[in-house]
Amino acid sequence: MRGSEGRRAEDSALITGVGRSAIGRRLRVDPWVLTADAALAAIADAGLTPDDIDGVSTYPGAFWSTPGITGAGVDDVRAMLGLNLRWHTGGGELAGQLGSIVNAVLAVAAGLATHVLCFRTVWESTAQEGYGSRSATLLGGGGTQGQPVRFGRELTQWSTPFGIGYPCYAAMEMQRRIELAGASREKYAALALVTRSYAARNEAAVYRDPLTLDQYLGARMISDPICVYDCDVPVDGSVAFVVSNAAAAGDPGRALRLEAMGSASGFDESAAMMWERTDLRPADVDLAQVYDGFSVYALRWLEALGFCGRYEALDFIEGGDRIGPTGDLPLNTGGGQLSGGRLHGYGGLLEACLQLRGEAGAHQLPTARQLAVVTSGAESFTSSLLVGAPH
């Protein structure tokens, strides 16, 4: 186990607080309000007050990407909640969205902060009313109101002249699996259907109506073979956590342990790094919340994490029993981003924490779960966390 020579950062940190705002489509709520709702809930959940918070960590911060993808920056939150900060960070170039959790763990392990508020706020659904979709906005299109938003043309020059939106990349990964590995739209449907059935029991999920195979196969195509149900759902909402120094955690009985984290760049590299830092193995994991910005990314994560081999994830989830509520590896049990909404990495960690604490309410799994793997991001922008239930 690499990293065991010295003290591991993971051993110094606990997730002591969890909170969320309202989550939904077209909430038309100031994203700072959403952020405050989640942050104050997480701080209270940790048994703390804002006066105890001395660190803030977020993705992506105030300035990154398109309207709606970021709802508040570090300094917005510092000023709004009257925080006295000893350490803070926010940015887009992290190890996935949950790289902001990795950073918080490092800060408390290094003694720079004791209680770090981590948050992620999106308001894409409401922002779409003014600007159009994120990908279209990036490519120079605009909404019905205001001027088209153009920025980062140097970054988008490899996609804009060809009319390539984000789904096209995932579609090409899916297409290779169809032609080279026996995949099909019928098989791809499993992920959307299983996570929708989970969402039906989760009051915080945005799409909860039952989804059938026929509906999936007849769905609007976005970029073949991707249909609308393979794409996650833009929503408004904020999720927050408190990462505390383990020695300062007030109620360790509810705190979640960080068994290992992987910050390497790449699906496989991120997962491998996480496993290098622990003696736990994939067979020890009994809950998975993997990033599903597009359905195929969830498959890719299952393979990278070692639950199955490359190109074997569709067989691994076939029939849905294994990843269902009573299976060996319940997957994206809040509905994932496909049906729960694009909380952008933070939703998966929220769901893992609630399940491991037995506080998921109506959608609590029938069997208590002890060890969750949580991933965020895709391609070269990735993070992997192994989260343990309270002792």
Partner: protein, 174 residues
């Protein structure tokens, strides 16, 4: 040596100069968004003016790199320039895009990642044109052509054989 570096070296050893045949210009019914021409990328975007695709090329180790960068990621060589390639490649993967991302480009159209014959893993995001969607498939041999947008020549690809000679790919698609 990391796995990635090993892949780079292996790729460089497989580099084989292809025969350069000028690609045709391609006239379209819509106008594309012209890319910004910067010091780093203008030689790529304007290369098609004479029908030849030019790719950033490390003159130290022979590795091609795309998108263009001023340092070779394999040998860290600094002598990176733009050199002609054959314009031949194969479809690594593809998708029929049906969503209107760019106001001036009405869908549907084919998006593809094309692997150039010069080097394994040397891929360009592009569009495949002059090809019915039911005939495109992974591995389809393609040749470069260019569509002008402002001062730029956008490299696109069309089947190396006439569409009428392509095999159907019906089994592979939904």
């Amino acid at each position: 040596m990391t796995t990635r570096q090993a892949e780079h070296v292996e790729a460089a050893e497989h580099t084989a100069a292809g025969e350069v045949e000028p690609g045709q210009s391609w006239v379209e019914g819509f106008s594309r968004v012209a890319p910004p021409l910067t010091e780093r990328t203008a030689p790529f975007w304007t290369s098609g003016a004479d029908g030849v695709l030019r790719i950033a090329h490390c003159r130290d180790c022979g590795r091609y790199l795309h998108p263009p960068r001023p340092v070779c990621p394999a040998c860290r060589g600094r002598d990176v320039g733009f050199d002609p390639v054959s314009g031949r490649g194969t479809v690594w993967s593809w998708t029929l895009n049906r969503y209107q991302w760019v106001p001036s480009m009405p869908p549907p159209y084919l998006v593809a990642d094309v692997e150039l014959v010069e080097q394994p893993g040397l891929r360009l995001l592009t569009n495949v044109v002059d090809c019915p969607p039911e005939r495109i498939h992974v591995g389809l041999p393609v040749r470069v052509c260019f569509s002008q947008a402002g001062d730029a020549y956008i490299p696109l690809f069309r089947p190396a054989s006439p569409a009428s000679e392509l095999r159907g790919a019906g089994d592979a698609r939904e």
